[in-house]
Amino acid sequence: MGAAEIVLNVVFYVLAASAIAGAVAVAASRNIVRSAFALLAVLFSVAGLYAVMKADFIAGAQVLIYVGGILVLIIFAVMLTHRITDVKLSNDSTPGPAAFCACLCLLFSLLVVVRYSTKWRRDSDTVTARAESFEVSFKQYQADGATGLAFGGGAYEDSVVVVATVSQGPDPLRILDQVQFVATSGANRVSRNFPVAGRDAPYRHVFEKLSEGEWRWTVRLLGRQKDGKDEVDREWEFPLANTGFTVTRGVTEPIALALAGPYLFAFEVVSVLLLAALVGAAFLARKEVKDL
């Protein structure tokens, strides 16, 4: 685990703890204004959690909309309500242990559903290529598993994990020495060599800090071949079909493309809904003009 990863883990737990503490304060505080202010901690921590998950745009939007807009509105409403602090808020009628058990059951079922319905790591499909007597099966996914990556897709983060399995047919004339992963993007070229480790052994490598752009994978096998009587050094290259992918920094562009593309209609419908809500609010808040 690298230093950055440890920092990220610490940050995650601190943020999660402060989100939960804030939520508890919202629910437990007797003073409703304090509850409203405790929401600040919750919303900021959740934004931080988004940022930890590399969803920077969502984090920014979360703070901008919830803290800058909705929380201010809530605080205004709470502060301006007449004698709101005098109201006795108490949940004494709720039986404590039973409520606790109910919450626990709910939490447990939620966790179970999340555990089994989430696709935690989006692997790519396995691609197989064959040359002479060798067969390479090849798979890639992203290091943190937070955002998906498939063949021909995009990676929103810069580290990509590649796994390849090399199997050799019954051919004593060809001897394998090394397996080489190569990722190319224009003039950029990143490669990693592995010594051969037995039959059908998986070779796994994390490519970190890939620069932005279109990338393509190839796997090369370096070895020797008995050619008549001499042993010659040889290379078998496996340009795998459909292994291109794009590395992009940040999620702003994919979100923009999604909103202006497949989700355009939904987006517009939601804005019409908001407009209707606004008109309704203005109608309710307007002053009655009475004829004299």
Binding site: L40, G60, V63, V67, M79
Partner: protein, 432 residues
């Protein structure tokens, strides 16, 4: 190289990478927070001195040469003052709010592009982050106003929150228009993309110096955008003529009426920190960020000479009075344009931020930002205060529609090639 990288390089002493990572973040924050404190101190001195000179006084004069050290004396005084907490306050929120306010303005400082490729934290979503975290200030102000248990403080906080939330709308819309031009949210990329191009989208591959800056991109509209942004920025930082949240004649001191000593100074610090942040955003979006006004080092000299000579010639043509002023302005503009063109052949890739250009870039960034801060101070001692209804009227009935029109205009101009192609293709398809 970012300051983070520098700090972690200096701190690879422990040899434990995790500790180094945390330490480097701490060091960067330490440097920044001290910089803010010193900057805020010096700008309070500047504010008082400028106010003095504008009102034909000398301003602070006792401590240090020309009273220059008065800000240190002020800081010491604020630190040793008694921390008074009135009985009617909500103690927890009362104590918390100065930190929330200060955290909101401090968090903005890490995302500013101080020099080419040099920000404490380089964000992909720079401007969105800046707009987002600065909203913590509103919450802090509301917290301070409510927890003080005083009607002056509550009124001040209400006015301030209403004002900031309202003025975020025209500010956001104008910045959106500028983002259409740049096509990125990254502050560094925004600054860098103002190196090339001339007004009206002509000669897009040429280094135009100050003619390539955002404010000159589509002249009437980008200039209007800058003015709207600057007015909104004044309102967001509660500066005159929009300082009704702390109107002395009505509200004692607004939301920080009940605060004293160190807690009060946090509000003060935050106000000055915010002034720098909004000026820095204006600099980055409209005035070229860390780019110099001419496309090369020798060009800057040429630009100064051209401007002065042009101004002199213009003044000579028009003699004196208002005509002389207009002549000088026109002359200096023409002189600057000629100088930038004359400097074209020497354009050295105009500031891609390599090597010693970091210092030069920081110089231009800070001088532009401080100029805008000076204008804020100047306005404070020149203009009277708005009334609440006038302020809201200006925001919702004037600035917001204007900003929307501006956004549409810039959008059309930026996509003019596509529109043109659409029209041409339409007629081609319709023709014989």
């Amino acid at each position: 190289m970012t300051p983070i990288a520098l700090a972690s390089w200096a701190l690879e002493l422990t040899g434990i990478p995790v500790l180094d990572a945390f330490l480097s973040i701490l060091v960067v924050c330490f440097i920044l927070i001290n910089f803010i404190a010193v900057y805020a101190g010096i700008s309070t001195y500047a504010e008082r001195k400028i106010a003095g000179h504008m009102q034909a006084r000398v301003g602070p004069y006792r401590v240090g040469p020309h009273g220059f050290l008065v800000w240190i004396a002020d800081a010491l005084k604020l630190m040793i003052k008694e921390d008074i907490i009135a009985t009617n306050t909500d103690r927890l929120l009362f104590k918390l709010s100065p930190y929330v306010v200060f955290a909101g303005s401090f968090a903005c400082w890490v995302a500013l592009p101080y020099a080419p490729n040099w920000s404490p934290a380089s964000f992909n979503i720079g401007i969105l982050y800046l707009l987002a975290v600065s909203s913590a200030v509103v919450i802090g102000i509301l917290m301070a106003g409510w927890s003080s248990g005083s009607k002056w403080a509550l009124f001040g906080a209400m006015r301030s929150a209403a004002q900031i939330v309202s003025y975020e709308v025209p500010i956001g819309i104008t910045l959106l228009g500028m983002l259409l031009i740049y096509g990125t949210l990254d502050m560094q990329a925004i600054a860098a993309s103002q190196a090339k191009g001339l007004p009206f989208g002509v000669m897009e591959d040429h280094y135009g110096g100050l003619w390539s800056w955002g404010i000159n991109r589509w002249p009437p509209f980008t200039v209007i955008a800058f003015i709207i942004y600057y007015i909104g920025a004044l309102a967001e930082t509660n500066r005159t003529p929009f300082d009704i949240p702390e109107a002395e004649s009505e509200l004692v001191a607004g939301y920080h009426t009940e605060y004293s000593g160190m807690r009060f100074s946090f509000f003060f610090l935050s106000e000055y920190a915010n002034m720098f942040v909004v000026s820095a955003i204006a600099t980055t979006f409209f005035l070229g960020g860390w780019l110099p006004p001419a496309p090369s080092a020798s060009g800057t000299l040429l630009l100064v000479v051209g401007t002065v000579v042009g101004a002199g010639v213009g003044y000579g043509f028009q003699r004196r009075g208002f005509d002389g002023f207009v002549g000088a302005m026109l002359g200096s503009g023409i002189g600057a344009l000629v100088a930038v063109f004359a400097a074209q052949p020497a354009a050295d890739g105009a500031f891609t931020g390599k090597g010693p250009q970091i210092l030069e870039g920081a110089f231009w960034f800070f001088s532009k930002s401080f100029t805008l801060i000076f204008v804020m101070i100047w306005l404070r001692w020149t203009l009277p205060r708005y009334r609440v209804d006038q302020l809201m009227d200006l925001c919702w009935k004037k600035l917001t529609p204007l900003a929307l029109i501006n956004l549409v205009a810039i959008g059309i101009l930026e996509t003019r090639h596509e529109w043109w192609a659409l029209i041409v293709n339409h007629f081609k398809a319709a023709g014989p």
